[in-house]
Amino acid sequence: MAKLPGLIGGLGITFKTMLKGAVTVQYPHEKEAPPTRARGVIALSEENCTSCMLCSRSCPDWCIYIEGHKEQRPPKREGGRPRSVNILDRFDIDYALCMYCGICVEVCPFDALFWSPEFEYSEPNIASLLHNKERLGAWFATVPAPEPLEVGAESGKKK
């Protein structure tokens, strides 16, 4: 193609783009689905949590607050020793502090924490960004199933 003067070529580009139509999405009306892996919000599966504090301690921001107490449970088998069980009283994540690094999800040994790609939880009040365990538990329904991996990946490796 013969070289047009740059000034005219530029006009051509903007004109072509104008005819091509928009690539943007009118957000509140239509939504783009974030990828499965997107680190949107952390969901808590409360029954899996043993309040072991690992996530809280490994958090670079110290933004996970956990409180719990131990309770005696009757032994599983007749005549056994009574078990002591950790009961979770409080599990809060302060999303105003969270860096979304995902270390807590990784260190959790009991599969109690999961990433969900949900992102619409902005708040007008910064204090409302502290999600308690009920709220974190509600996110659990949005956690996607693990996706298949690309060719060449070692199979059977999950989170």
């Binding site: 903007t14 104008m18 928009a22 009118q26």
Partner: protein
């Protein structure tokens, strides 16, 4: 000079004219702002622009913005020269209003058919420089002052090519009256063929380009928007303005764009005229035709605005003095020679 066949009392006519002029500037600003700033620019940038306000393609956006500006607090900097600061936007807007006085929208649809119409339009358009300098100086802000100085230097420099570009048209039409120029184009002929009249864009194409370039500079639009360069001077002389005063500047900017587009349409595209349509029919169709031509010119101007980077201050001065003015002078001479020869 009454607009319709019925006899209208002098005072009422004056009032009607005043209302039309008062309405046409904000309306023009609104239409151009919406069509080009919000919609055309957005599409050129692969987006849609505002879609929600008003339901249909965000047509209410600018009106809403205007209402928002009216509600805003009127902030005047402490160090500012309050009276001058307050007066500056008005001066800019008044200069815009005055241009529309002579722009004809039909054979009888004109506020005043001045003998020196073109000259008048260009003279009053230069008034806005005063407003710009006032704004920049009174804001007590260095960015504003630099912006105003740049604007003034630029507006003065480009007044010349603007005038000279028009001179060619004036020579060809043999009149400075805008009505005269329009009818010269409507009734003219190209090599004896009068099918489309003789729009001066054909014979004065150089003049048309010069006019567009100079108008772009007068409007301080890209590539000549150094005075308001948002990436360095933030908003130049407008930096301290808020609320309805800023709204005035906005109306001034797009209103003047409308005015210059209308002027260009009148001077080079035949204004309200459609070949062969005269009399009352032209009065009825004229405004529509003018608006269509005006929008076509404005499209060109904004297309350039949204595509190009801006020239540096010294470069745009050099462009005006070393390129545009010589070309314009040559154009005038050639036109004059041809006119005399024929």
């Amino acid at each position: 000079m009454n607009a319709l066949a019925v006899e209208i009392p002098w005072g009422v006519l004056l009032a009607i004219k005043a209302v039309v002029i008062l309405a046409v500037v904000p309306l023009g600003a609104l239409v151009l702002g919406y069509t080009f700033l919000l919609k055309m620019m957005s599409h050129m940038q692969s987006r849609l622009g505002p879609m929600d306000p008003g339901g249909f393609h965000g047509w209410f956006q600018l009106i809403g913005d205007g209402i928002k500006f009216l509600q805003k607090e009127d902030i005047v900097p402490d160090e500012a020269d309050r009276r001058v600061f307050a007066l500056a936007p008005t001066v800019v807007v008044i200069s815009t209003f005055l241009i529309f006085v002579v722009i004809p929208a039909g054979p009888r649809l004109q506020v005043a058919n001045l003998d020196v119409g073109v000259f008048y339009a260009l003279a009053v358009s230069s008034l806005s420089v005063i407003g710009v300098l006032m704004a920049g100086w009174a804001s007590a802000n260095k960015f504003a002052l630099i912006g105003a100085l740049r604007a003034a230097a630029q507006l003065i420099a480009y007044e010349l090519p603007l005038l000279l570009a028009v001179v060619g048209v004036v020579i060809q039409a043999g009149t400075m009256s805008l009505q005269g120029i329009v009818s010269a184009q409507q009734d003219g002929a190209i090599f004896g063929w009068s099918g489309i009249g003789n729009p001066f864009i054909l014979t004065q194409f150089v003049g048309f380009l010069l006019f567009l370039i100079a108008a772009q500079a007068e409007l301080t639009q890209t590539p000549f928007d150094m005075p308001v360069a948002e990436s360095e001077l933030v908003a130049g002389y407008m930096v301290e303005y808020t609320g309805f005063r800023f709204l005035f500047f906005f109306i001034g900017e797009f209103g003047t764009a409308t005015a210059f587009a209308a002027l260009a349409a009148t001077l080079f595209l035949g204004g309200w005229s459609i070949p062969g349509v005269h009399g009352t029919a032209a009065d009825l169709l004229g405004p529509l035709v003018l608006v269509l031509k005006l929008m076509a010119v404005a499209f060109l101007m904004f297309w350039v605005r949204f595509t190009y980077p801006r020239l540096r201050e010294d470069q745009l001065q050099a462009l005006a003095w070393k390129v545009l003015i010589p070309i314009a002078l040559v154009n005038v001479i050639i036109t004059a020679i041809i006119k005399v020869a024929i």
